[in-house]
């Protein structure tokens, strides 16, 4: 992970909104994947209600998470796999380091895992002198660049092909090209050697099947299969909420996931991994570790207003339709989880106060809610986070953010509670606005906190008479006045 923080949201966003190349790239995700997702969901029985059906499945699982977790752990252990429940991200990192030390691991290959970014795994491995190589093409690119991923599914979406070409020319010593197939072939060659000689593979997981005792990993590139097959040790990092109970759950969850994430009916590979290789298997890892990570999720679970956010299957679908994300890119959020889901999940795990920009920096347009394959209501939760910032909430360790705003809204609601006061205020404001600079009648500079509007837009003046006053006058003077 990198020194990202949500505190820089406005600053980073202000830069990103001028990046027309970023917008072009993200526009492709929007047009190819985001805007078509709902049509693809409707292909799945039960058709229009697939999102609700998927929500019901996730809900049943999360509402009984203890049973599902215990069953999953028991079944994996029965096959000789090791299961560790990590309280915090640091505990999970420490566990991975211990496993690596025990096996004298010198090289780790990684399959894409947002959770590994969340817990800052890579820097810890590198500090321990372990070479850590990302193998997902997008993650590999951002790793070579020394940057953080900018999208949950497509980490390097913000680069152009010529930027990747220049990067590979510099770091891999390959002749410059901007042709994606040639660039992919370069990465294929460079990473093959790493994947075949690594001592340990660490991957994420997309879901699990508790009943059968398997972790399920969905991918297209084949690097995750390599990571989970060729090294001696395979470690899976999985959030405690990202599991399922039965294969029937997988039927709808996986089909919705691939449609939402990449507009695909099915991904190239779906791997069911349930433990280390059996003695009669000629290949596969000799040790298998499943690290189930809490890191704040059980706290979210305990709050009925926010529990729903744990249903998220990390498809990135909300990113692909969010006009704010599509303009400001993933780095503005200062968190491995960006876009609408990041705007809710990050404050709840990192601290609502520290992440106030994430709670307030979107328009609540509702596009994310419409596209979420598990029917999450992110706007409702963002609105609730704003309420906690406004009035504080000791349960979530957040204090009221702004006394001035509280007073202002208090005063405003007091005035709006009496038409007479409101009319009086309008009268005063009509006088006051004469002091403000205008052009063609509209105000060009507003004072104080409203000044943000007039940076680039004019603001309408108050009319000489309100609708209420005109209505009253009309009725007094007769219809045709």
């Amino acid at each position: 992970m990198h020194s990202q923080t949500p505190l820089k949201y406005r600053e980073l966003a202000a830069g990103a909104v001028k990046d027309s190349q970023l917008h072009r790239a993200l526009g492709k995700m929007r047009d190819k994947v985001g805007r078509n997702a709902v049509n693809l969901y409707n292909q799945i029985a039960p058709g229009q209600d697939s999102r609700r059906a998927a929500k019901a499945v996730r809900s049943r699982i999360v509402d009984n998470l203890d049973v599902v977790l215990e069953t999953l752990a028991e079944n994996i252990r029965a096959r000789g796999g090791q299961v560790f429940l990590a309280d915090t991200g640091a505990d999970a990192v420490e566990y991975c380091l211990q496993v690596a030390r025990r096996h004298q691991v010198r090289r780790v290959v990684k399959g894409k895992s947002m959770l590994s970014e969340e817990i800052c795994l890579n820097p810890a491995l590198e500090a321990a002198g372990i070479e850590t190589v990302e193998t997902d093409l997008g993650e590999y690119i951002v790793q070579l660049k020394g940057e953080a991923p900018s999208h949950i599914i497509a980490p390097a979406i913000h680069y152009t092909r010529d930027q990747v070409g220049a990067l590979f020319a510099e770091k891999l010593g390959e002749p410059y090209t901007d042709d994606p197939p040639s660039l992919t072939a370069m990465a294929r060659k460079a990473l093959r050697e790493k994947m075949l000689t690594a001592d340990m593979g660490i991957s994420g997981g997309n879901t699990a099947c508790a009943e059968t005792g398997h972790v399920t990993i969905v991918s297209n590139e084949g690097n995750i299969r390599m990571t989970s097959t060729m090294p001696r040790v395979h470690v899976v990092l999985l959030g405690i909420e990202k599991i399922a109970a039965t294969l029937e759950d997988h039927d709808i969850l996986l089909r919705m996931l691939t449609r939402a994430a990449a507009g695909q009916k099915i991904s190239t590979y779906i791997s069911y991994v349930g433990g280390p290789r059996l003695p009669e298997e000629p290949d596969g890892p000799e040790e298998f570790h499943l690290v189930l990570v809490d890191n704040g999720r059980s706290r979210i679970l305990a709050d009925p207003d926010f529990r729903e956010v744990l249903h998220c299957v990390r498809c990135g679908g909300c990113l692909n339709v969010c006009p704010v994300y599509l303009n400001i890119g993933g780095h503005s959020y200062g968190s491995p989880y960006c876009g609408p889901i990041g705007a809710v999940f990050t404050p709840l795990t990192r601290g609502i106060g520290e992440c106030s920009h994430l709670c307030q920096g979107e328009t609540l347009c509702g596009a994310c809610k419409q596209v979420c394959p598990v029917d999450n209501d992110l706007p409702r939760m963002l609105s609730l986070l704003r309420a906690k910032l406004a009035d504080g909430d000791p349960k979530w360790d957040v204090r009221p953010q702004s006394r001035a705003a509280k007073l202002a809204f208090g005063a405003w609601s007091a005035v709006m509670s009496r038409r007479g006061l409101y009319d009086a205020l309008l009268g005063l404001a009509r006088l006051g606005q004469r002091l403000l600079p205008r052009r063609n009648g509209w105000i060009t500079k507003l004072p104080g906190p409203l000044g943000g509007w007039t940076r680039g837009r004019d603001f309408p003046p108050l009319a000489a008479e309100s609708f209420g006053e005109r209505w009253a006058r009309r009725n007094r003077d007769g219809r045709d006045a």
Partner: protein, 244 residues
């Protein structure tokens, strides 16, 4: 609901204070339909600005007042989808733990309609006898479209306007970047969304944009004026009241 005996006007505070002509246009259209109108003079605001910013207690105070003011209305019509969405959806959140207020909010909410929704779904009317000669494009406001599900009604009404030609823009349903206080707190992002919206409008080649929510429309008009762009902005009520 059948054709109501009387229609109670709910004026969005932005319309009341800055764009009263929009309210009057709505009145003209409704009167042409032969409806009896009433306007509770002491109405002020549904509380949405406070709710949107997270100040729920302050919003609830105005919400309770709204219920008092509009309790006895048979049918409430408002020229703004976001206000109607506030009443129909967010009042239920505000009063989730207060059964009596919740019940009142649900009763009032069930009788509250956005203007185009009222004309088409309640009155069954798509031709209000309007004429307006020119090409326009239409912007789908977020709360109206996604919150209330109103998408076809404004288009049906525009189709009934003599001389008007509607040309759809790319991604008419994409947010214009207003978002309430967001527009002042995050101006860079707000403007970026607005620029995309205006550029999509201009790409249609039309010179006029129509919408159903003055929040969005004043946002658009703000940048149009600042940059002197050749686009005129119209609330659908003004088009429907038109007799050009």
């Amino acid at each position: 609901m059948n054709k109501p005996q009387r229609v109670t006007l709910f004026m969005q505070c932005i319309v009341d204070s800055c764009f009263p002509q929009v309210g009057e246009a709505m009145v003209a259209v409704l009167e042409r339909q032969g409806l009896t109108l009433e306007y509770p003079a002491d109405q002020t605001c549904c509380g949405q600005p406070a709710f949107n910013a997270g100040y729920r207690n302050e919003a609830a105070r105005l919400a309770r007042r709204f219920l008092d003011v509009f309790e006895d209305a048979e049918c409430i019509v408002c020229p703004s989808g976001s206000c109607v969405h506030m009443v129909r959806h967010h009042y239920r959140e505000l009063f989730a733990k207060e059964p009596r207020l919740l019940a009142r909010a649900e009763r009032v909410g069930a009788r509250t309609f956005e203007f185009t929704e009222f004309l088409v779904d309640v009155l069954g009317v798509t031709d209000v006898g309007a004429s307006w000669h020119g090409d326009v494009t239409y912007h789908d406001s977020c709360h109206l479209l996604r919150g209330l599900g109103v998408k076809d009604q404004p288009r049906a009404l525009l189709a009934g306007v003599r001389g008007l030609n509607l040309i759809e823009m790319t991604r008419s349903d994409e947010c214009c970047g207003f978002g309430g206080t967001f527009s002042a707190k995050y101006p860079e992002i707000s403007e970026a969304l607005l620029e995309t919206k205006l550029s999509n409008i201009q790409a249609t080649g039309v010179g006029a944009v129509v919408g159903c929510d003055m929040g969005c429309l004043m946002h658009m008009q703000g940048m149009i004026r600042r940059r002197e762009l050749p686009i005129t902005v119209h609330h659908i009520a003004e088009i429907l009241a038109g007799r050009q």
